[in-house]
Amino acid sequence: MSLWEYANPVKFIRTTDVVLPWVSGLAVLCLTVGLIWGFFFTPEDYRQGSTVKIIYLHVPAALMAINAWIMMLIASMIWIIRRHHVSALAARAAAPVGAVMTVIALATGALWGQPMWGTWWVWDPRLTSFLILFLFYLGYIALWSAIEDDDTAADLTSILCLVGSVFALLSRYAVNFWNQGLHQGASLSLDKEENVADVFYHPLLLSIAGFVLLFVALVFLRTQTEIRARRTRALIAREQQG
């Protein structure tokens, strides 16, 4: 029994079929409890007023936007090194989810920034690097959908993902250098002192867990879809030949 067994598409579909209802159920549970808790039962921040409630969407979405890219990077490397199709398809399945997360993070950030900073958008390092990350997602998705041959598409996009990661990191530091930020530091860190207060912290953790589970469930589902779509194409191609 090893992890690589799940590289078999049939095995992957069978396992995820079992796991999927649990993961999505837990995701819905965590999200509902976390968000309702955050929305209805947390006090207002003395400086930010009620806008502090946006944190329960903004922080998890931003976190997942980055984690989705990291997951795609790892999946791409697995594809390049071990050539498991499931891995390449999982990377493909994750990209739109990551892109949506980036949009959520940017949109909620803008909605929060309007009353707090007095502007929808500033060219702050964090904001700017998220915008750039979004562009990377767009390019990645566009390249996947532009190439017809599945294996070529998987190869090219994984190389793009590797190169893109390096440049995304570079951009992150370049942007830092270019402009000093308005954005506050990390809202979560292991250092207790820097953290947000406990009242905000617990529902936030829950909604982060909800977003992570949601992401996992969506990636499972979408990877299944990609596997099936690929098999359908292969069968149709065989029919046409024979």
Binding site: K53, A107, T225, R228
Partner: protein, 52 residues
């Protein structure tokens, strides 16, 4: 039941609306595509079994 959101109600509510809307949309699209491809695959597989 509705908490008093004060003067920032617009910002808070619209960010919840936007985010939840996007998430629901993403989930709906994913599920829809999953159903469609599954149906398509079943169709093709049945056909290929009958023929081959």
């Amino acid at each position: 039941m509705m908490p008093d959101l004060g003067k920032y109600a617009g910002a808070v509510l619209s960010s919840y609306a936007v985010s939840l809307g996007l998430i629901v949309l993403l989930v709906a699209v994913s599920i829809l595509r999953a159903r469609r491809t599954k149906a398509a695959l079943d169709l093709v597989e049945k056909r290929s079994k009958r023929n081959g």
